[in-house]
Symmetry: C2
C-alpha cells in the first residue's frame, strides 16, 4: 500500500476509488539534508506527506533563526496560513535529514473535501496538529527548558539523536551553551540513579 494511503488509514479509511482519484496528483521528491522546501516570502501551494526524514520549521527574528517545531516522518505538513490564504509564508520549512516527500497540489486537496473520507481525514489531522501545538504552548508556559528537554528525551528519543543540538536549543529558546549544561546535568543525574 502507498505509504501516504497507509498514513491516512490511521485516521480514516479511504475507499479505493477516492484513493485512485487522488494518487495521480501526487509527486515524489527526494531531498538532501538542509534542503529548503519552503522559504519565507514564498506562497505554499501544496499539502505534503513526509514519508521519511525530519524537518524543521523556523522563522528569522532579527537575524536569529527561531525553531518553531520539528516534523518527523510519517506525517503531513504544510505552511498552514500561507496554504489556506495563499499569502506569503512568514516561516521556512527545511529538511534536517535526507527526506522523501510527496506533494499534492492545493486545489486537489480542497476539491476532494467533497469526499467524506478525505474531509474526515483532514479534519482529524488538523485537530491532532492543533492538540500538539497546544501541548507545546503549554509546555513552554509551564516547564523550564531543562524539563522540556527531559520530556523530549523520553517522548522523542529518536528525534533527539538525529537533530543537531543547535536546533534543539533554538526550539527550547535557550543558547546552545545552556543546552550543553543541561545535557551534562541530565547525564550526571542518570549516572547517580
Amino acid at each position: 500500500m502507498h505509504p501516504f494511503r497507509a498514513f491516512i488509514h490511521n485516521y480514516e479509511y479511504l475507499p479505493e476509488q477516492v484513493w485512485h482519484s487522488i494518487e495521480p496528483h501526487l509527486t515524489v521528491h527526494n531531498y538532501d539534508a538542509e534542503y529548503p522546501i519552503l522559504k519565507e516570502g514564498q506562497i505554499c501551494r501544496h499539502l505534503y506527506f513526509l514519508e521519511s526524514g525530519i524537518l524543521r520549521y523556523f522563522i528569522n527574528n532579527e537575524g536569529l533563526e527561531i525553531c518553531k517545531f520539528f516534523t518527523q516522518a510519517p506525517y503531513c505538513f504544510t505552511s498552514q496560513y500561507s496554504f489556506l490564504n495563499q499569502v506569503r509564508a512568514s516561516e521556512n520549512i527545511t529538511s534536517i535529514t535526507l527526506s522523501v516527500i510527496w506533494s499534492l497540489p492545493r486545489d486537489i486537496a480542497f476539491e476532494f473535501l467533497k469526499e467524506p473520507s478525505w474531509a474526515a481525514f483532514i479534519r482529524k489531522l488538523t485537530n491532532e496538529v492543533q492538540y500538539l501545538t497546544e501541548e507545546l504552548l503549554l509546555a513552554s508556559q509551564s516547564k523550564t527548558a531543562e524539563d522540556r528537554y527531559k520530556l523530549m528525551l523520553t517522548e522523542e528519543s529518536e528525534l533527539i539523536t538525529k537533530v543537531p543540538m543547535k536546533y534543539i536549543a533554538s526550539f527550547l529558546g535557550i543558547a546552545p551553551q545552556s543546552l550543553s549544561r543541561i545535557r551534562k546535568n541530565v547525564s550526571l543525574s542518570h549516572l547517580l540513579t
Copy 2:
C-alpha cells in the same frame, strides 16, 4: 439575526434550513464571573459559542494555576481534546467576566458535519484556532514577557483592561511582581515618547 449565526457567517454562509435544524439544539447560559464552565477531570460534551464575556483556560501544575490562553467574545470554544475523544479534560475553563454562552451538544455538532456549510465553518474555525495557537507558541519562543505584554497592549487592549493582572502574569509565565515592573517600565517609556 441570532448572534451565533452572525458569527458563523464571518466564516461561511449557513443556509436557512441548516440553521433552523441546528438552532433548537442550542441552550443559553448566563454565567457570573469566575464560573467554572468546565473543570479538569470532567468530559466536555458541548461546543460552545461565547456571545459576550471573557474566559480563561488554565491547568493546575503542582498547585500552581497556569493560564493557557483567553477567549474573548464573540468566539467559539470547547475543550478540544476532551470534546473530540470523550476523555477527561486536563484543563479548566472559567469565566472571567459575566458571560452569555450558548451550548450545542457534541452529537449535534458532529451530525451536522454532513452539511457542507457547517463542515466548512468548523474547518475554517479550527484552522484559525490552529493559526492563533501557533502564533502564541512562536511568541513564547521568540519574545520576552515584556515584548509579549506590549503586543497585548496594542493588539488586545480591551482584554488587558478586563482581565485581572494575576491571570495576565500567569499567561506570560512570570510572577505578578514582574508584571508590575514591566507595566511601570511601559508607562514610563510612554511618558518619555
